[in-house]
Symmetry: C3
Subunit: 206 residues, 3 copies
């Protein structure tokens, strides 16, 4: 099941990357690159941090073609995306949660300490979006809007907690996935967000 | 021959990095760092992605000195750069093509799938410029102007296509290099560019 | 001793990251992430560049907790930070110098050429601040203000020079540390800075 969700997830992330590139008037190539980076960048950063070579997408050419195609098709259907906004947010939420669980699994198998496993999950979940925003020269959205990165954190903690208590792996994945998805959708619906830290000292630069 | 072209290429890229740093009023150290990153950053990103350790410039101190010197000298001769604009564009085009072929060769030797070889070539070709623009806080130019990244793509495809057909290696490099250089110069001369994707939804943020 | 200084250093860097995140109105999670990246990002970039796996903080969970806590506590005490500005600058200077020496040691043990050792030291010293600024969408401060990156360079050169002359390791560290700290404080006090390169051609884009 996670594979299906993963394919949906990278497609959705690729589309979100393409739209961000469109806001910066990038050309066809830029759209393809940002789509790819948004979809597979989180996993890439995780693999590089953990020394998990070869980086996973280099062994799955089909994911490369899929994300680039999704990015280019988005150019054609962008005018209709507005009407799909709700669906888009649900798919993106599924992606966030699936990425997180996959990231935790990779770090677990490599034997990293628990806190690093959690960070690997979060990195996989949110770094694609962060790379997208850096490439498009804007402050990362995932660190400013409704609960997003924190959903990734909670999913990672839940997944590891159940895993340690010996819960069956499939049940654990289903439970963590459902709770995470629900949490994200609730956060979107009622605009829950973390406290914001606003710091604007006058005439003082650190 | 590729070595000569490579030395010219990293020198040119270092100069382009120094000019970008100058636009952001960076100090001497910033100029040196951006020059280095622009010239050798593409190959660094490629090596890290492919797990190709040690990263190539760490084994060639002379390239480090060369790029930093080129950056610093650019500060002194910046006022004359305007008159060298045409030459500069030709050298930069040579660099783009040479970097691409070198990047393909590295990935080929490591046995990566074809599509990854192509991406390694493109990464080597364009990521120095992307890192330069990220460090200088601007949207990557290579994804917005005349055919640039796409020239890198075409060179990589041509080079691999000829390689698979068993064409002699030297002839292949010469052919790919010439076609790529010509294509880039034509694109500059007649301002060919890829279709641009402009997306500006009103009051909707994804 | 270096361990104590290191702990102070990553705490200070984490706080500087949290303040930068606050200027961009990031949420609690964003503050924690930027704090972590500012404190441990320089060492991470160094380890990835040198292929020094596992990346050092993945083996020291306590550093992860420390930097995240420091970031979050900064949110609470931000209003008082103004009064601690002087202290903050001194701690930050200690961090810069300690990071540099640590970075050199890592590269030395891996047997890299001298110039790469110097670059590893500088990378450890300044890249946390560069990542912080990239994430917060601003031009890296360390490349524009008073002597900062150059202090890192001088410390690295001094440390390696004394090391090659067979100076006792502890004495060498103490000497390099003191000279670097002094230099940085002098630079702050009298606003010493490197020459700046300002380049603003009219109607010409490279």
């Amino acid at each position: 099941m996670l594979t299906y969700v993963y394919v949906i997830a990278i497609t959705t992330e690729a589309m979100s990357g393409a739209l961000a590139a469109g806001r910066r008037n990038m050309d066809l190539f830029g759209v393809a690159l940002i789509a790819f980076l948004t979809a597979l960048g989180g996993g890439t950063v995780r693999d590089i941090l953990l020394g998990n070579y070869p980086v996973s997408w280099t062994q799955h050419p089909s994911y490369i073609y899929l994300t680039i195609s999704a990015g280019l098709i988005t150019m054609l259907i962008a005018r209709f995306m507005k009407h799909l906004h709700q669906l888009f947010l649900v798919l993106d939420a599924m992606g966030l949660v699936a990425f997180t669980i996959i990231g935790c699994n990779v770090a677990l198998q490599l034997g990293y300490p628990t806190v690093v496993v959690v960070m690997a999950g979060i990195t996989t979940g949110i770094f694609g979006g962060i790379l997208r925003d850096i490439m498009c020269n804007r402050t990362p959205q995932v660190l400013r809007h409704e609960l997003y990165a924190s959903v990734s954190l909670i999913v990672a903690l839940l997944y590891l907690g159940l895993d340690e208590r010996g819960v069956n792996h499939d049940i654990n994945m289903l439970a963590s996935f459902s709770v995470g998805l629900l949490l994200r959708l609730v956060a979107i619906r009622w605009q829950c967000s973390l406290p914001v830290f606003s710091y604007a000292p006058e005439r003082w630069s650190d």
